[in-house]
């Protein structure tokens, strides 16, 4: 009696392995083959053996295995240098974190998509009506139902784990070297460099440019003057709402030089479509030069004293001198 115990549990483990390897599918298919007996079906065991000797029950097997092996192998080979799957290359470390997560989700998603798609297509083509006979009226299969409840739970928890780690990285707020208050309004943007006393204001049809240095920790304070706007730079792999009454903070560590497109994403009224801006990433030296060129000169137009005071209060600095600049300033 005691000897029988391990053998049953071993059998159960065997079963579980088979299933977790999605080989249950194969066994289902093998069951279909005219002369395939159940004992033959369970014979291959946990390892999906591509070089199966018995040709008849394995008739459908190579197709599945090839697909699986090709997918898995392709992913392994792609390894560390995955494509971005239609997205921009990230220009910030935060964006890179999100990009990795996106790549993981994309691969997982496509894998699930392919598997379920294959199952549907199999059912659609394999079980089209061939006779008037009434098929077996089975309705429950407890084991399979438990399996396809449990496996998604595991997948979801894994995905959540990666999500949790990534979102903490993306939302982290380390001490910044440079702070910029970004204000959205109908229909333009204002970039106020709080410690540098520089302000750039754009209006519709005249895109303002936010200049930032690479390899520095930049903190953005995001807010709105009127309705809700969306601060979105595709290359940052990031967006955030600019809302009245709420200040959103986030950090950027840029590492790619260049000029990148930005746009309001949250619908904000008539000229929402034209509420664009640019993000220009420059070297720290160029940034210093740009700051000194735009600092504390020029007229104080287009920003009221009240707003200036408010801006100053917000960051605890003395009233800044401001510069207006349009596109390409």
């Amino acid at each position: 009696m005691r000897r029988a115990q391990p053998s049953t549990s071993w059998h159960a483990l065997d079963l579980r392995l088979r299933i977790s390897a999605a080989v249950w599918l194969v066994s289902q298919i093998v069951d279909q083959s005219p002369s395939g007996s159940p004992s033959v079906a369970s014979a291959p065991g946990p390892a999906p053996a591509p070089t199966s000797s018995s040709p008849q029950p394995a008739r459908h097997r190579p197709r599945w295995l090839v697909a699986l092996v090709v997918t898995a192998g392709g992913l392994l080979l792609a390894g560390c240098n995955l494509p971005t799957f239609g997205a921009h290359r990230a220009i910030s470390t935060q964006g890179q974190d999100s990009m990795k997560l996106w790549q993981g989700f994309f691969i997982t998603g496509v894998t699930i998509l392919v598997i379920v798609f294959a199952l549907i297509m199999w059912a659609v083509f394999r079980y089209r009506r061939r006779s008037e006979a009434i098929p077996r009226q089975f309705q429950y299969h407890t084991l399979i139902e438990i399996i396809y409840t449990a496996i998604p739970i595991v997948i979801v928890l894994i995905l959540f784990g990666f999500t949790f780690v990534t979102e903490n990285n993306v939302d982290a707020l380390p001490k910044p070297k440079i702070s910029v208050t970004v204000t959205g309004f109908q229909w333009g943007w204002r970039f106020h460099y709080t410690t540098k006393h520089v302000t750039v204001i754009g209006v519709e049809l005249q895109d303002p440019e936010m200049v930032l240095p690479e390899n520095e920790t930049v903190r953005i304070y995001l807010e709105s003057h009127d309705v809700i706007h969306g601060f979105y730079v595709p290359a940052l792999i990031f967006s955030r709402y600019a809302q009245p009454g709420i200040i959103n903070k986030f950090t950027l560590n840029l590492h790619t030089l260049g000029t990148f497109r930005g746009q309001c994403t949250q619908f904000c009224g008539l000229y929402h479509s034209l509420m664009r801006f640019r993000l220009k990433v420059v070297t720290p030296a160029q940034f210093a030069a740009w700051v000194s060129a735009h600092q504390s000169t020029g007229p104080e137009a287009s920003i009221s004293n009240a707003e200036k005071t408010a801006l100053a209060r917000s960051t605890g600095h003395a009233t800044p001198t401001t510069t207006t600049g349009g596109a390409g300033s």
Binding site: Q137, T166, H272
Partner: protein, 607 residues
């Protein structure tokens, strides 16, 4: 052991089994009726008309986007167009079509009830809905034009400071009216399902369609009052200076917010999405139900994992009330991990449903009629929409693609998959029951294939556009980003869909002009509605079969092929019928019938 087939007259005394139509006829019948079937048809006709209107609006949107600086319509017109397209599709088509229309018509039939529990309330629901719909459409004619703040009406954009027009007020009031309509229908359906089931129709013998409508009704009672309240508050904000969402008049620059003078913009989003996410499932569950009716019938098998299906529906509904803030990840004001986990978890019951649908087809004898093709179209469309939905449940990915065309593609795949593929599957499926005539299957298949191809051609490019950074709700986009080509492809697809719906009109006309009689049970249906005549008599049933599984009509027609209840029980055999008023059905005094050899069986054509 074929003791099952004993048709009986329910209640002995045919109180409601009156054959003659009473009451007025013609137009007066449609206006004064309290018959759930007539009201259901009114709902369906109205919502399909609105579906065509909203589809035309969508074509306007697509035409505008064929060129980078589109000049087909102005920005203002574009904003009105997408607002009304979304509002009509979401509030006036998808929900009312399934919940007011199909459910109203089918649920009482499926549970063997003579009518809804509150017939007059049912009529009131329809008239509120019609009034709200007309009000919504009329906004195109008022000064200032229709509402132009998107179907989500985010405050403070929807306050008078930024949207002063009367079109916005009519939009709000139209939604209040249709909201009450939905609430009343919800109350009505829930009561009907709890109290008017035929003898023998226990809860776990209800068809999945009815189950899903019950759960949808409960979700409506949770979600719609919140929307209605939020809308009333918005109206108060607009006209009585309530300052609930409004942020004008208080300093809104950093650090200078006077909280006492200020409303909260995020409050609207919280209230709206607390309605809005259950609403997504209010729009999805009925259509899941339709598909779960169609797949078994055309696979000639019972639904696989019936009980799992029911509990999956319930867990989707339960989870859906705790995920609203996944629409608000980028507001920076919500607890990301909680809402992310809850949203991801919805994939589990949805996955169960998927595998159950596949299991239903597994080893069946699949017959590819139009409803079946539409249902498989739904499976594929919803599969991809579901997978991208899981991606969106992850906040960092949502930061990336939020309010871009990726989201547009995602929810159109989900909603088109459910409301259109599954919705019109339901129309093709139940049309013979409603009118006693068939829809042409070849035209139906043409409709399906054109729509199916058009669907992918329309929405796959939107994923590409979204990933390359195209925001949604833009009337114009710059050149040089490679967006034009994908937008053009998408527009071509949308016109394919439009043509496919012209074919549906032709099909309806053909069936009207050259009727092909359907008989009572053209599909060899499983559920109770296929037991009565097509169309059903005034109070639905004169006879009922013994109900001892979730598919009494099948049991009646195929006494030799009952459900195999337990996994591994290859011996077959019937479910031990311990409950239900008929007990074992043996020797109850009624004349026993062999295989449809008697009077009652004449109502059930042989397969």
């Amino acid at each position: 052991m074929t003791d099952v087939i004993v048709p009986q007259i329910v209640g002995g005394e045919p109180a409601y089994a009156v054959h003659e139509e009473h009451g007025p006829t013609g137009l007066m019948k449609w206006i004064t009726t309290t018959d759930h079937k007539v009201i259901g048809l009114s709902y369906m006709i109205t919502s399909i008309v609105l579906f065509y209107v909203a589809g035309l609006l969508a074509l306007g949107i697509r035409v505008q986007l064929t060129t980078p600086h589109g000049t087909f319509i102005s920005f203002q017109q574009y904003n009105e167009l997408f607002t009304m397209h979304g509002s009509i599709m979401m509030y006036l088509f998808a929900g009312p079509f399934a919940f007011g229309g199909l459910a109203n018509y089918i649920v009482p039939l499926q549970i063997g009830a003579p009518d809804m529990a509150f017939p007059r309330l049912n009529a009131l629901s329809y008239w509120l809905y019609l009034g709200g719909s007309i009000m919504m459409l009329l906004t195109f004619g008022v000064a200032g034009g229709a509402a132009d703040f998107g179907w989500v009406a985010y405050a403070p954009l929807s306050t008078t400071t930024y949207t002063p027009g009367i079109g916005a007020d009519l939009w709000i009031m139209a939604l209040v009216l249709t909201g009450f309509s939905a609430i009343f229908t919800g109350v009505n359906l829930i009561t009907t399902i709890f109290y008017l089931r035929a003898p023998g129709m226990t809860m776990f013998r209800m068809p999945i369609f009815t189950w899903n409508m019950l759960v949808t009704g409960i979700l409506i009672l949770i979600a719609f009052p919140v929307l209605t309240a939020a809308l009333v508050l918005l109206f108060a904000d607009r006209h009585f200076g309530a300052k609930i969402y409004a942020v004008t008049g208080c300093h809104t620059v950093t650090g200078a917010v006077d909280v006492h003078a200020c409303g909260s913009a995020v409050l609207w989003q919280n209230l709206f999405w607390f309605f809005g996410h259950p609403e997504v499932y209010i729009l999805a569950l009925p259509f899941f139900g339709i598909v779960t009716e169609i797949l078994p019938v055309f696979s000639k098998k019972p639904v696989f994992g019936y009980k799992g299906m029911v509990f999956a529906t319930m867990s989707i509904a339960a989870l859906s009330t705790g995920v609203w803030a996944h629409h608000m990840f980028t507001t920076g004001t919500v607890l990301l991990p909680f809402f992310s986990l809850m949203s991801l978890l919805i994939a589990v019951p949805t996955g169960i449903k998927f595998f159950n649908w596949i299991g239903t087809m597994w080893r069946g004898q699949l017959v590819y009629t139009t409803p079946m093709l539409m249902s498989i179209g739904f499976l594929l469309a919803f599969l991809m929409g579901g997978v991208t939905g899981v991606m969106l449940a992850s906040p960092p990915i949502d930061f990336f693609v939020h309010t871009t065309y990726f989201v547009v593609a995602h929810f159109h795949q989900v909603l088109f998959g459910t409301a259109v593929f599954a919705g019109f599957a339901g129309l093709y499926y139940w049309y013979p029951k409603m009118f006693g005539r068939m829809l042409n299957d070849r035209l139906g298949k043409l409709h399906f294939w054109l729509m199916f191809v058009g669907f992918w051609v329309t929405y796959i490019p939107m994923y590409v556009l979204g990933l390359s950074g195209m925001p949604r709700r833009v009337a114009s986009y710059p050149t040089g980003l490679g967006w034009r080509m994908w937008n053009d492809v998408s527009t071509v697809g949308s016109f394919m869909i439009a043509v496919s719906f012209l074919i549906l009109l032709v099909n309806l006309w053909v069936s009207w002009r050259y009727p092909v009689p359907a008989g009572d049970n053209p599909w060899d249906g499983h559920t109770l509605e296929w037991f009565t005549t097509s169309p059903p008599p005034h109070h639905n049933y004169t006879h009922l079969p013994v109900i001892r599984s979730e598919r009494p009509t099948w049991d009646y027609n195929h006494p030799d092929a009952p459900n195999i209840p337990i996994h591994g029980d290859r011996g077959g055999g019937t479910h031990p019928n311990g409950h239900g008023p008929y007990g074992n059905g043996n020797g109850t005094g009624s004349p026993g019938h062999g295989d449809g050899a008697s009077g009652a069986a004449e109502e059930v054509p042989a397969t």
